[in-house]
């Protein structure tokens, strides 16, 4: 018994040690600090202690902690991607139009080289999402890019709100209706998936409380219904894959009927057509800068989407949904200056403050403010210029990417059977199979985007 107790204590100790995140101390000197909170400050230092921003000002002494000389450089908050599928080994549980019970956080893969490449593009936080095969997909994971940490637990952004993936339009119609000949095959059918699911969750809750008061047997435990109930109670933020204006309005109507308000529409290529409705509902929008025409439901798109949404008061972000775009979200954000004349502040918000709001983590990240996490990117030029290059990417005060110490080979899991790592003909064209339909669409189709 004593021995058993001892081993439990040891186990707990080991677990606690293993899950301790590295929190760094760092001083960034004399940069142009774009705070996204309190304007742009020239010749300013940022001090990070124990992973948190401790002080912003001039002439800060850091003692003997690591110091980055940022003279002539631009210092911005770590970039946040509200839509990614990097660092997870499973994306789509495409077996049922409703799979609220599954969770991509069960399949975190900290070895994905794409995560390092995202860091090299200044991305410090990403929202690893379930795919878009199901009307109600699985729950998602918000992760911090602590490249080099091997324990998947250390990649989770602790205390980030729970999120779940919903999906409208062609993808669920194709997978279930066309693929398996079960509903939904139409946008009408998709609406009823939500109504049926929410009604079931309400009944489940009623049956549970009735059983409690009557002291009778409760209904069979259902993680799916438990999760749906949590959505109805506002404990989970919905991130809904969507394209067309009509289906966006439909989901807002359903949510209104059930009193649910926390929603961010993803992709939302026709969001610009219903921008006033989105703003009134308080719905958010996370969009591509310029992707369109990869399927019929995005044929009537415009690269001015982000600008129209922003000008209509919708909290808007620009996401990647791609292991390629995530490498240069700062460039994607800058395109809103060509397509819609957004100001520097508005454009940078699309990849910092706004995605933070959409993930419910704006008190932790998204701007350079005392008390927030020490997540920062240092560029050698303005981040919205084509000539701005990320030089340092810092997570919790730890430099996770340094352009001067960029290794020739960053892989951390090396396949012993591959003497030379595999060569891929289509370095870029693989992004179609990478995104929301990962694990569902037939791979290898040339240029067949299925986001």
């Amino acid at each position: 018994m004593k021995q058993f107790f001892f081993s439990i204590v040891t186990l707990v100790l080991v677990l606690t040690t293993a899950s301790a995140q590295e929190m760094g101390d760092l001083l960034i000197k004399n940069g142009t600090v774009i705070t996204m909170e309190d304007g742009v400050k020239e010749n300013t230092d940022v001090l990070i202690k124990q992973g948190k921003i401790k002080q912003i000002g001039q002439g800060i002494a850091g003692g003997n902690i690591r110091t980055i000389d940022a003279e002539g450089m631009f210092v911005i908050p770590g970039i946040i991607d509200a839509h990614s599928h990097l660092g997870i080994d499973a994306v789509n549980e495409a077996t049922n139009p409703v799979t609220a019970e599954v969770f991509v956080g069960d399949a975190i893969n900290p070895y994905d080289v794409g995560l390092y490449r995202a860091l090299a593009g200044g991305v410090t936080t990403s929202h690893a999402m379930h795919g878009s095969a199901n009307a109600i997909g699985g729950q998602c994971e918000t992760m911090k890019h602590r490249w080099g940490e091997m324990n998947p637990e250390l990649w989770r952004m602790k205390d980030a709100p729970r999120t779940i993936k919903f999906a409208l339009g062609e993808n669920p119609m194709r997978v279930h209706g066309e693929g398996n000949n079960v509903a939904p095959r139409t946008r009408m059918g998709i609406e009823q998936e939500f109504r049926r699911s929410f009604a079931a969750a309400k009944e489940y809750k009623a049956a549970k409380s009735k059983a409690l008061s009557n002291k009778t047997a409760p209904p069979d435990y259902s993680l799916r219904l438990e999760t749906l109930q949590d959505i109805l109670e506002g404990e989970i933020i919905i991130h809904c894959h969507s394209y067309r204006a009509d289906e966006i309005l439909m989901l807002m109507d359903v949510l209104e009927d059930y009193g649910v308000s926390k929603i961010c529409f993803q992709h939302v290529n026709e969001g610009f057509k219903v921008a006033p409705e989105l703003a009134q509902f308080g719905a958010h929008a996370s969009v591509f800068s310029d992707w369109w025409a990869y399927k019929f439901e995005v044929y009537y798109s415009t690269a001015y989407n982000a600008a129209i949404l922003t000008r209509n008061g919708v909290v808007t972000s620009i996401n990647s949904d791609s292991r390629e775009l995530i490498r240069h979200l700062y460039h994607e954000a800058a395109k809103t200056q060509r397509y819609g004349d957004l100001t520097d502040e508005e454009a940078l918000k699309l990849i910092t403050v706004n995605p933070a709001i959409q993930l419910g983590i704006e008190d932790r990240v998204g701007s350079i403010k005392v008390g927030k996490d020490g997540d920062i990117v240092v560029f050698d030029g303005h981040p919205l210029s084509i000539y701005g290059t990320p030089h340092y990417t810092i997570v919790d005060g730890v430099v996770r990417f340094d352009i001067n110490e960029d290794p020739d080979d960053v892989r951390v899991d090396i396949d012993a059977t591959e003497t030379i790592p595999a060569f891929y003909e289509q370095g870029n064209q693989d992004h179609e199979a990478e995104g929301c339909m990962h694990g569902v669409s037939e791979h290898g189709h040339h240029h067949n985007h299925n986001h």
Binding site: V113, Y116, R117, A120, G121, E170, K273, A275, P276, E277, Q280, D290, W291, W292, A293, Y294, K295, Y299, Y300, S301, T302, Y304, A307, I308, E324, R327, H331, A334, K335, R338, Y339, G340, L384, S385, I386, Y387, T389, D406, D409, V410, R411, I420, P421, A422, F423, Y424, E425, Q426, G427, N428, Q429, D430, A433, E434, H443, G444, H446, H447, N448, H449
Partner: protein
């Protein structure tokens, strides 16, 4: 009064049809234009401050204080003029909606299809075209990509009602070099199977080429043999062969083959060109690189390998052109070049890679690729560095046609920025 009424009715009809479909753009115009007081980035002759005169389809004159005569004068003070940008490899006009296979015209069935002609299937009404022009892209090589010999590409200008009107003349043959690499991340073939497939494809290639040479030597009526006929221009050294090849070992093997066969070759893709830059220089092989904005080819590559490739090749002395491989987003060509510029290529070389270099590669540098008197008026006017996203393009001329600065995407912006009626009427 009647006339006023009539024109009001007409304008309402016109107005509403634009609003309803958002895809009709205004007509282009051709005539005489004097672009006054500009910084003229000629590409081949430095930067000239002065005027540029367009008469019909050509640049008539470049110089200080040109006589306007009856030309329309466009004040370009504080503005720059560049030659139109040229995408050296894309699918514009051959693909409309990626997920709908019946809108894809670049991927024919058959083991050998060198007789397929992209120009036949270029859709002059593709919605992608006006959208692309707005970023200063005026010309493109649009290419098929099906079998080993997928067909002839079409070099086109992005203006015209028929493929013939769009054609820039050149229709180079394409060869997809059999790869010893994986196709993509989902390619589950074993190493042995990849080797076997490549061997088989190389054998097919060599047999085909042998037949094509026999065909070349035949006298009299050769009968109907479109595949062998199609590559005779390459065999006679009248046209280049564009060889899609990416992996280091494959590039070297392709080099050996073109030397043995005495082929005038251009390599495209060349994602590992930087590993064999010296061999490419030694053999004077021009390359078409891109997209620049893509993932590295190997998990072990540095993150910036695709960004730096074009610059490394240019520095080594290779003639480099840049492509997007896109269709709907060929408009990102200047940003691809911009990334190359920032990652070692430099602005001037990157501009060449999307202007004069492709013109040289496709043998039309006497017509386009730079701002020179007598060349086609393929050019655009902008208010700054054309690689910067903030820069605005105010005029785009293609073969002297002043094309409208609007597209379905700008029309949707105009219509929806301040939507009227705004919010739905609540009951």
């Amino acid at each position: 009064m009647n006339r006023i009424k009539y024109s009001i009715t007409l304008s309402v009809i016109f107005f509403s049809s634009v609003m309803a479909f958002g895809q009709m753009v205004e007509k282009s115009q051709q005539g005489s234009y004097l672009l006054k007081n500009a910084e003229i980035y000629t590409v081949t002759n430095g930067v000239i401050t002065g005027d540029l005169k367009i008469v019909n389809e050509k640049i008539e004159a470049i110089g200080p204080n040109l006589d306007a005569a009856d030309a329309e004068v466009i004040d370009c003070s504080g503005k720059r003029i560049y030659p139109g940008f040229f995408d050296s490899g894309c699918k514009i006009g051959l693909a409309e909606i990626s997920s709908i296979s019946l809108t894809q015209d670049h991927n024919e069935i058959g083991a050998y299809t060198p007789h397929m002609r992209a120009l036949t299937a270029v859709n002059p009404s593709s919605v992608h075209i006006p959208i692309t022009r707005l970023n200063g892209v005026t010309s493109a090589m649009t290419y098929p990509a099906g079998s080993l010999f997928p067909g002839k590409a079409a070099v086109i200008h992005l203006h015209g009602y028929t493929p013939e009107q769009m054609s820039a003349g050149s229709q180079p043959d394409i060869l997809k070099w059999p790869s010893s690499g994986k196709r993509n991340r989902w390619d589950k073939r074993s190493k042995e199977d990849i080797e076997k497939d490549q061997k088989k494809a190389l054998k097919k290639l060599k047999e085909f080429w042998k037949s094509a040479k026999v065909f070349a030597g035949m006298k009299g009526d050769k009968g109907y043999n479109p595949q062998l006929e199609a590559v005779q221009d390459v065999i006679n050294n009248d046209a280049p062969l564009i060889i899609e090849v990416n992996k280091k070992e494959d590039i070297l093997a392709a080099l050996q083959w073109v030397n043995e066969e005495n082929i005038n070759a251009v390599f495209s893709g060349v994602s590992e060109g930087w590993r064999v830059a010296d061999s490419l220089v030694a053999n004077a092989i021009p390359v078409i690189v891109g997209p620049i904005l893509q993932n590295p080819s190997r998990a072990s590559d540095k993150y910036d390998a695709p960004y730096t490739n074009a610059g490394k090749l240019a520095k080594a002395g290779v003639l480099v052109a840049i492509r997007t491989t896109e269709s709907e987003n060929v408009r990102n060509l200047p940003f691809n070049a911009g990334f190359a510029a920032n990652y070692g290529m430099g602005i001037e070389e990157a501009i060449k890679a999307i202007t004069i270099n492709p013109a040289k590669i496709f043998g039309i540098d006497d017509e386009v690729g730079s701002l020179e008197e007598g060349k086609l008026a393929n050019l655009f006017v902008c208010d700054g560095d054309p690689f910067e996203m903030k820069t605005r393009i105010s005029h785009v001329f293609i073969k002297g046609w002043s094309t409208p600065i609007e597209s379905r995407q700008t029309l949707l912006y105009d219509e929806y920025l301040e939507r009227d009626p705004g919010l739905k009427i609540k009951d």
